[in-house]
């Protein structure tokens, strides 16, 4: 195991987590005004109508897949009688659908961004950098999926290498050796992904962290006093819902 391995698999992960957490907190406090989707829908809506949902919903599936694949140890799935074969087939099928949707989505989004004058002009350098990392992560991730299935290179069971490594990071007992010998696609995907998390708080991607789930639980009309206190409005939230502070 080289010192590069240590850097990549034991140090970089914490740098990524650190930048992501500290950067987000800092930006939320210092730069809340720029914390926005910077939507370009007012310029162009037709392509976005397809590309927006395709990309985002695809991405949700991809994230769900990562959560299952990385966080749930193989022992657990074995214990409930899911064989490696079954798991593999399931993951590959669902993963392919999600991956293809996400990639098609982002391809269309980028095409739209490049070909619609108004949207292109509104694209900042920051956005372009972000797109490079995002697309690189997605492409590397897709090829990792293909390589785990043995379509390129030899078949690889990431649940014996990448997943335990990921959990070792979360448990603050980094085990770089687990990653050192995985197929190249996995290593590239992990590194680019970590870089993406490093720049995340400083790009428009921040909007994902304020996904408005609280909306479901608040009363429709909000009143505030001039000093910012909320006051009881004329309408109650539906019974059973907790009052959300705004």
């Amino acid at each position: 195991m080289s010192s590069l391995d240590i850097m990549l698999w034991s140090v970089l992960p914490y740098a990524a987590i650190g930048s992501f957490v500290v950067g987000s907190i800092w930006r939320y406090r210092y730069d809340k005004f720029n914390w926005t989707t910077r939507s370009s829908q007012i310029y162009e809506g037709k392509m976005l109508r397809i590309a927006g949902p395709l990309f985002h919903l695809g991405l949700f599936a991809v994230i769900g897949g990562h959560i299952v694949g990385l966080l749930i140890p193989m022992k657990w799935t074995n214990a409930i009688g899911v064989s490696q074969e079954m798991y593999h087939v399931g993951a590959i099928t669902m993963g392919s659908f999600a991956g293809v949707a996400t990639l098609l989505g982002i391809a269309l989004l980028i095409y739209r961004r490049r070909t619609t004058d108004t949207v292109f002009v509104a694209t900042t350098k920051n956005d372009k950098t972000m797109y490079i990392f995002l697309v690189a992560t997605l492409l590397a991730g897709s090829s990792a999926t293909l390589s785990s299935a043995g379509v390129i290179g030899t078949e690889h069971n990431y649940r014996e290498t990448v997943s335990p490594w990921f959990r070792s990071i979360l448990l603050f007992r980094p085990d770089a050796a687990l990653m050192a010998n995985t197929p190249l696609a996995f290593r590239i995907h992990a590194v680019v992904g970590m870089l993406l998390f490093i720049i995340w708080p400083f790009t428009r991607l921040v909007h994902a962290m304020t996904a408005p789930v609280g909306y479901m639980f608040r009363p429709p009309i909000i009143y505030r006093t001039r000093d910012g206190r909320s006051v009881a409005g004329n309408r109650k939230a539906r019974p059973g819902w907790e009052k959300v502070k705004y």
């Binding site: 005004f33 829908q41 007012i42 909306y215 009309i221 505030r224 006093t225 000093d227």
Partner: protein, 519 residues
């Protein structure tokens, strides 16, 4: 009963000359920044016409406002909360910039830098969005003064709503029969659809005066409010990625000054004052079954500021005495509820709008005069109001969900006022039967005349100053002079336009003015 105060506005449409002064001064005060070039917090549209943004009254497209479900509950026309969250990646109802217009400037530079040549240099229009040359095809008031004629006017959603035969008639007659101007700002609704649609909870109603504002820090650019407002009075700032709207000039109101649009109005037709209303009843009033009952339901919300019970409840809520006194002197309450001559715009959207309109009588007077009648004789006027079906039905579609009797009642009062006052002005014996015919007394019709026709500054604007002891700190006080240095990079922080801590609006416009003047 929960008594709350609402700052409201009344506009007397008879007096609007369509000069757009209000729009221009509003723009200078609030939207002369990039990202909002296309936005007019105050706009003046010619009716009949498509309005701004184009055909905003067609709720089948953008699905603004509320609807009543079969079960009698209120629901946003745009769909349920869950549905809104699911469509967050691309709001299917979102307006396109072309629905407003593509903002542009001219290459003035070319006029002085063009090389010597055969042709006179011209300043070509250039898009403010792409920087490329563009063809100007629409604007905020492209069909001003019925410009473009029947081709544009045909697309007026209200005309289309009226029965087919009426439309044809209007098409044939509109040049002679009627045209009026409709200045519009945000309605600062009692039941605002924009607030309910905002996933981030960034839009709110101020508890003290009911002004609806967007919290610029909390807005995350989900743009649901843009389509949810049936009046299309929320604008998406395409540079900052946040929603912005009419603020009712709250920094001015807080120190007792009228809004910029009202202060500069050439026709002096705007009135500002307080309504007291029962906040507990808003939901019920907004969900009455029949669209045409909404006007009365909205009237029922407005409380009599001289009723001892109301006063006791207001004091129990902690309403300051000078606010109560202002509510008692409120010109908007008088016009809307006492005289009942001001009507809400499109009550059928169920947002309980708080900018009211005195519908115009002039189109009718004009017809009478043109056809050789005495346009101010009460008998002629009453007769004409009954006979001139088209303008009336059109006005009714705008101000009373199609109920012609409401608009007729209002116009009869205005006619009665004209005729009654003419006798006085000409030194004739005043005729008490004229006010009686419209259910008013000689005194009340005279008072209404003073308010509508003489319209003294202090009668038009009754604005109680804000109570600083209520607010922990005012917007302005939070910012020291160091802050001013700190905002010099407004327009280009590390994350694009205006990153960093927000700058109070007054300081922001001060800095921008300074920059313009010293360059």
């Amino acid at each position: 009963m929960k008594v709350m105060a609402q700052m409201g506005m009344v506009m007397n449409l008879d007096k609007c000359i369509g000069c757009h002064t209000c729009s221009v001064t509003c723009k200078q005060a609030w939207t002369n920044r990039s990202g909002l070039e296309y936005a007019w917090f105050n706009n003046v549209e010619t009716r009949p016409g498509q309005g701004y943004p184009r055909r905003y009254e067609d709720q089948e497209k953008a699905k603004g406002g509320w609807i009543r479900t079969k079960g009698g509950r209120l629901k946003l026309k745009g769909g349920s909360k869950a549905r809104r969250l699911l469509s967050i990646f691309s709001n299917p109802r979102m307006l396109n910039i072309k629905d407003y217009y593509e903002p542009w400037t001219y290459e003035y530079d070319n006029l002085i830098t063009a090389p010597l040549g055969q042709q006179t240099p011209v300043a070509r229009p250039k898009s403010l969005l792409t920087g490329k040359p563009m063809k100007i095809e629409w604007s905020a008031n492209w069909d001003d003064d019925l410009g473009g004629g029947p081709v544009n006017i045909e697309k007026d959603p209200i005309l289309q709503k009226l029965a087919e035969d009426v439309t044809t008639k209007v098409k044939l007659e509109f040049e002679q029969t009627f045209m009026f101007y409709l200045p519009r700002i945000c309605e600062h609704c009692l039941n605002p659809a924009c607030v309910a649609a905002c996933p981030s909870g960034a839009i709110y109603k101020r508890a003290e005066d009911g002004i609806v504002l967007v919290d610029q820090q909390q807005c995350k650019g989900w743009r649901m409010c843009v389509s949810a407002c049936p009046y299309k009075k929320i604008y998406f700032n395409h540079k900052t990625g946040k929603a912005e709207k009419c603020t009712m000039c709250y920094p001015r109101l807080e120190i007792g000054l009228p809004t910029v649009c009202a202060e500069t109005c050439v026709g002096r037709l705007r009135y500002l004052g307080l309504f007291l209303y029962d906040a507990d009843k808003v939901n019920g009033a907004a969900s009455v079954e029949n669209d045409q009952d909404l006007y009365e339901a909205q009237m029922d919300l407005l409380l009599d500021p001289d009723d001892p019970e109301v006063l006791a409840a207001a004091r129990a809520e902690g309403m300051p005495e000078d606010w109560i006194a202002a509510a008692q002197k409120s010109p908007v309450y008088k016009l809307a509820k006492v005289y009942r001559v001001a009507l809400p715009l499109h009550p059928e959207y169920r947002t309980m709008p708080m900018v009211w309109y005195v519908p115009p009588l002039s189109p009718i007077v004009d017809v009478l005069t043109e056809t050789g009648h005495d346009g101010e004789e009460v008998g002629n006027l009453f007769g004409a109001i009954e006979a001139l079906r088209i303008p009336l039905e059109y006005l009714a579609e705008m101000f009373s969900a199609g109920d012609v009797s409401v608009v007729t009642g209002t116009l009869r009062k205005l006619s009665a006022m004209r005729s009654y006052m003419r006798d006085i002005n000409l030194g004739r014996e005043p005729r008490a039967e004229i006010p009686e015919a419209v259910g008013m007394t000689e005194e009340s019709i005279y008072e209404m005349y003073r308010l509508l026709a003489i319209a003294k500054y202090e009668d038009r604007y009754v604005i109680p100053a804000a109570h600083t002891e209520q607010a922990k700190e005012l917007d302005h006080l939070g910012c020291s002079l160091d802050g001013i240095e700190g905002v010099e990079n407004f327009g280009g922080g590390p994350f694009g336009q205006s990153s960093g801590n927000p700058v109070p609006v007054t300081i922001e416009s001060f800095l921008m003015a300074k920059e313009r003047q010293t360059k």
